[in-house]
Symmetry: C3
């Protein structure tokens, strides 16, 4: 009689090259979209209004890119990170076909690297995960690495294999939705007059507003994504663990930072890529999250007079307003208030030329 309880994979359960079909396909609905707005306060017009989306060439309001990320990520947790000690980083994350309410998402992952920690108590697992819709179109493709507990310390360490990862997703890999009609992009309705031409490399933007985290909110967010990593939900167990409290899903901080970035980047209507991401410090209920961004690169897109890209670095903090643009020092170390360092690329309308 097979044991039915699935304890989740431990470090020794992974092998480089292993392919994993993740369970629980998910039909994303307007219900998910509403709850996402309720949990984050996100205000990007494209995801908020069918009429706005249709005006610029979408069939209807597509699902927020970061919500798509969470939905695909959520599929992978039970296999990859149920026993994770920490979610360490992201790279090569590319958003693909827009997701619309009614689409069903599935995910598969490939183990692309393994590195046991010196302590022998855990190791780093690198996976490439791909989310697809019901037409088998890729909606998301990303690499993440996560520290996973080792169950049996006596087992020999696998040969270390650390994948080479690109520092940045390049324009050739951007998925730009077909049929965009940017002449019909209404800046007043989008909430900002600023076009791609208005941003400069090195420019810093304080997103100003703070959002206080509540246990109910971050747990509801993670549950919505069917992300069942134990550390988010169980105060009875976490009371005795490292932090004494439930750890907030790092992706929820990404959502709050992206929602806050509306103030300054309201026209960044699509996330093209996440080049790199790191949860600099953990967040807990009661923390207030703030964010600021730096424009890292202003990217002209070949053959496009209607849209351009901005590579943005957004730092989120806790209990520390961002008017002073807090971030890592010369030594690269993060101050204790930094909770997120996200390097990503967004699509922005260019200024219409007068014909």
């Amino acid at each position: 009689m097979p044991i039915k309880t699935n304890p989740g994979n431990l470090f020794e359960d992974f092998q480089v090259g292993q392919e994993i079909v993740h369970a629980v396909p998910r039909t994303v609905t307007v219900g998910d979209v509403s709850l996402y707005v309720g949990l984050t306060g996100s205000r990007f017009a494209l995801h908020s209004s069918d009429a706005f989306a249709q005006a610029i060439g979408y069939g209807r309001a597509p699902v927020d890119d970061i919500l798509v990320f969470h939905m695909v990520f959520g599929r992978t947790v039970a296999d990859i990170s149920l026993n994770a000690v920490a979610n360490l980083g992201y790279a090569q994350c590319r958003f693909g076909a827009p997701v619309y309410p009614g689409d069903t998402l599935q995910a598969r992952s490939t183990v692309i690297g393994l590195k046991e920690n010196a302590s022998g108590e855990s190791g780093i697992v690198f996976v490439r995960s791909v989310g697809r819709n019901q037409r088998d179109e890729i909606v998301l493709d990303y690499v993440r690495w996560v520290m996973v507990r080792k169950g049996d310390r006596s087992r020999p360490a696998p040969a270390p294999h650390v994948p080479e990862l690109d520092a940045v997703v390049t324009p050739a890999d951007f998925y730009i939705p077909a049929g965009l009609q940017m002449a019909r992009y209404d800046h007043a309705l989008a909430g900002s007059p600023h076009c791609w031409e208005d941003y400069q490399r090195g420019e810093r933007i304080d997103h100003a507003d703070g959002m206080t985290l509540e246990e109910s909110d971050h747990m509801t967010a993670a549950r919505l994504y069917q992300n069942n990593a134990k550390v988010h939900f169980n105060q009875h167990a976490e009371a005795k663990a490292r932090f004494g409290k439930r750890l907030i899903y790092g992706g929820h901080i990404i959502s709050l930072a992206r929602a806050a970035s509306f103030n300054g980047l309201a026209n960044a209507f699509r996330v093209l890529a996440i080049n790199a991401g790191r949860h600099a410090n953990p967040s807990f209920a009661g923390d207030t999250v703030y964010a600021w961004s730096e424009i890292v690169e202003v990217i002209e897109l070949p053959g496009r007079a209607d849209v351009g890209a901005l590579r943005v670095r957004t730092i989120a903090t806790k209990d520390h307003p961002c008017a002073d643009f807090p971030g890592p020092g010369a030594d690269g170390k993060y101050p204790p208030e930094a909770v997120l360092d996200l390097d990503y690329t967004v699509l922005v309308p260019r200024r219409p030329t007068v014909p």
Copy 2:
């Protein structure tokens, strides 16, 4: 290079006659409707059941009127009340075309009055805001006034301009949905046998039930409406401010009072108008909200044997059950437990006549 962070308008940024197109149009969905029920417990049959709605002539269950109010109000916050000290009052609020899931709402406002406070630190801004659907039909039209911080105290005060506001929305301005089939109104399913004829001027109704406010609930409500007024969300900042804690969006109290009013007014199936509204005292997480109502006027509608109107005054309180009908004293001052004084008009079925 233009500054990208939008600090929101200060008192000196408004001028009488100014027209504002509010950003972020919003497609209202069944997801919003579900979350609204989850946050308020509202039980009006018309908004709960497509079958009930269709029986009496609607295409399907229309969106709760108060949710429509919040969605339109939410559009206006970033421009009008991001820096509000207090939301002072409402008047001349008229509900228009029913809103159905899938409709997209936009809002525009006109500044109709300004009055600087004697302190020179803030002033009152009066706006008329109009919400429209994707067919440009008016769904909501209301006046509110709000106290907004002045940024530069040295600037001269504008000439005071206080608009004359009607004390009550009159029947000529009621929007009564076409095609009502009240003979098919099922009182058992609606939850109350009481018809318009059963209510008397001066009658008082204790709505009995109390609802305790949680931080997560009121923040989720305000975020759902994309109401981003800072005072609701940021404990880190509010800890140092006037109350030491987050202030609850007054509209959430309206929702809870209306939901509670089901017990006694279950057949008030449509809000026709808000004649006047005032948040008598602020509410905070941990407060328990109760409500009671007085029938101010029993209004016969010209040419209608099927429906009548009731002008209702609902008082909501905190931590004070309403069996003793608490309200302002002879001096007009509100007791500290009063949090809402709402004067509104509802549509109610008349007793069918035997043919």
Copy 3:
């Protein structure tokens, strides 16, 4: 002038044979489904994915059976249990036609038993409640009994009438959806390789994960179901009552136990029946809920090679992990950590035979 406030029924208001049409029909939507996932983290593939559901013969993803239970139950509260002291038990609960988003549910109840308590302060009311969809098909049919306050102790007790209830719902009463295509059931997507044949009578399964209860979560759940029983919502009143705090709707514990049971019973894709259920102890915000199950019976279904049934007993606990399978002792008494004892029957795919 009739009194408009409805105080809810007291024990003396019920009579055996009484029929009650419950108010507030409810159209269940994808918004409800999303919020249910957000509040419980439930991951059953059938309810999560239209594509998965269609593959095995459903029109689209049906609404989670336990959510259907709550929606029907919610209709009954205002009439049956608004003044309940305790929700004592369930029996003969049979799930009928699948519910799809867009279906409208109504409920009716019949009082089938009454028994006043020796104290004369309360009594037990037994009701059979039936939920139907807009085509008048039965979606749920169950008996529950509840302890209700008596208002006037001087009134004579009614003749005690305790209905005879079946200990178990038998296969002849199972509703198995027509047109199932189990050959297309994808175990990888469902999240478990285990078939009906893999389970044995007496087998115990620790569902492993714990979920901490928050006030906002359980209140939002109950409000979503329009369950307005006072004890769940009003801290101002409950502070002075028996427990000093809000009591969690027992059905929310059923939801959490069922969601946790995914780990070990992921292929239990349909709840056929609840044979018996008991809330062994109350739950409160801050408690962490765990669960384990015992396979009580492995039931072959006549004429079915594709699906079989499992009778399962799930015990949920608070602040007590279930690796030691806690439950009632030899004396039948529940330990203080036990909060739920649910005896139910689920439908599970059988192992495909090689043709």
